[in-house]
Subunit: 273 residues, 2 copies
């Protein structure tokens, strides 16, 4: 419901690259009235291989830029930055700061019957243990099996969502992992990286081949969008603007980002952090 | 020949990441008496998407660090930094400053009979036209066919030198490229990125399948090493030290860098630029 005279809610979304556009896409589909200002720190990606203190510093710089105009909430649409920078961001800003890890953990716990939950993500996300920690808080007896799948980000950015190279990578990452008798009990897999939703069809196929059954895929873009609906239900109506900023070449951003979100509908800008 | 009482020559090698370790490996194999001090600016990679002035500034900072002890030559083992920073570095330091583009161009011109020379590299290297320019200076009638192969850096850093995913990627990048009648005339391919030498066996196989004959692969790590042999022939004997520095997590540097060079033989250190 729109209220005349009140401004529509405005959120900022931050990611190391274009993967966070899956969050913009999910949020925009559910909440078309939301103003969304996105910043992809494309000049400094990938974050997944950098140290925690470096990632925290980058996240603070990006948020300082995004918060220049009024914003009503910030989504850190990057698992690595969510794992490293949420406490520092929450200490510095008054608005709600949502990560992607807690919403993903919540959905995984709701989805899992066996209590065996798989997580795939970047090296940094997996090494941080952030999903295991978030899931343990919600269901202490859950067993989390995490596997780093670092190359998937580059494959997503190449647009190779259903490419033989991607299938070969998934086989190498997941084949030996799922053949472990304990890991094979998983009934839920968290896509612990905002780039990964593009691989859902191929992932389902590879998982079905390996396990002989379907398992639930938890998409953190969808999970964090559910929280945004709770915070800003009024934005289910209306027409919000989408502003997309990047720290590197807008040409490449538009080309690669267009694989994740119809960027031509948005206003684009370059930012120097 | 070692001369008692004289110190052995000492070079510094600089790269944005670990790819430049292929230069360290080639130089160490040919010149075991050389002292080599390497710096990988892993916290700030990739350079390929940053502005030329930023890359120049980074290269000057890195060299200021590397040149703290006496050095007798600097190798800029990074295509982007070679393209952006050589004039500034040469203006500031008295020792020889070698890039990787000119040595690669020279070897390509020596190797090619047909005058059709292929170049593969990152998006930025290919877009810069730096190899085409360097080759044109040496052989104005040469025709350069360049193709961006962006995923190869990530595949190299994953250690997938001979993996089905890498083969699928090479097929996608090179198949349509080589089927162009003009491109199919190439008899020489420049590996325009210091990560790529690890793919030589697989590349030879894919090229042979596509073209029905062998072509020369120009490895810029080997090419710049030839220049180092000319500068420091006395280092073909002796035992030099290898010092490796990085600007981000040494754990990851040792693990990924170990795919390119036996890092356990070296002294490792973290540097804050």
């Amino acid at each position: 419901m729109e209220t005349t005279g009140q401004r529509q809610p405005r959120i900022a979304v931050f990611d190391s690259g274009v993967g966070g556009l899956t969050v913009v896409a999910a949020a925009h589909a559910a909440l078309p009235g939301l103003h969304v200002r996105f910043l992809g720190d494309t000049a400094r990606l990938p974050y997944g291989s950098k140290s925690a203190s470096t990632v925290e510093r980058y996240a603070l710089q990006a948020t300082a830029h995004l918060a220049r105009g009024d914003i009503d909430a910030l989504v850190v649409a990057c698992n690595t930055a969510s794992a490293c920078a949420l406490p520092a961001l929450r200490a510095m800003y008054p608005f709600p700061v949502l990560g992607v890890i807690d919403p993903g953990a919540q959905q995984a716990v709701l989805a899992s019957v066996s209590g065996h939950i798989g997580v795939i993500g970047t090296e940094r996300t997996v090494a941080s243990g952030a999903y295991a920690e978030a899931i343990a808080k919600l269901r202490p007896d859950a067993v989390v099996h995490a596997k780093a799948t670092p190359l998937l980000v580059s494959l997503a950015e190449e647009g190779w969502f259903d490419h033989p190279a991607t299938e070969a990578a998934l086989q190498t990452y997941l084949g030996p992992f799922l053949s472990d008798p304990d890991v094979s009990k998983i009934d839920t897999l968290v896509l612990g990286c905002t780039h990964y939703p593009v691989f859902k069809p191929l992932l389902s196929q590879v998982l079905r081949q390996a396990l002989g059954r379907d398992i639930a895929l938890v998409d953190s873009a969808q999970a964090v969008t559910q929280q945004l609906i709770d915070l800003f239900p009024q934005a289910q109506q209306g027409q919000g603007q989408i502003e997309l900023y990047a720290t590197d070449s807008l040409d490449r951003f538009a080309r690669v980002g267009g694989l994740f979100f119809p960027v031509y509908r948005a206003q684009l800008g370059l930012v120097d952090l």
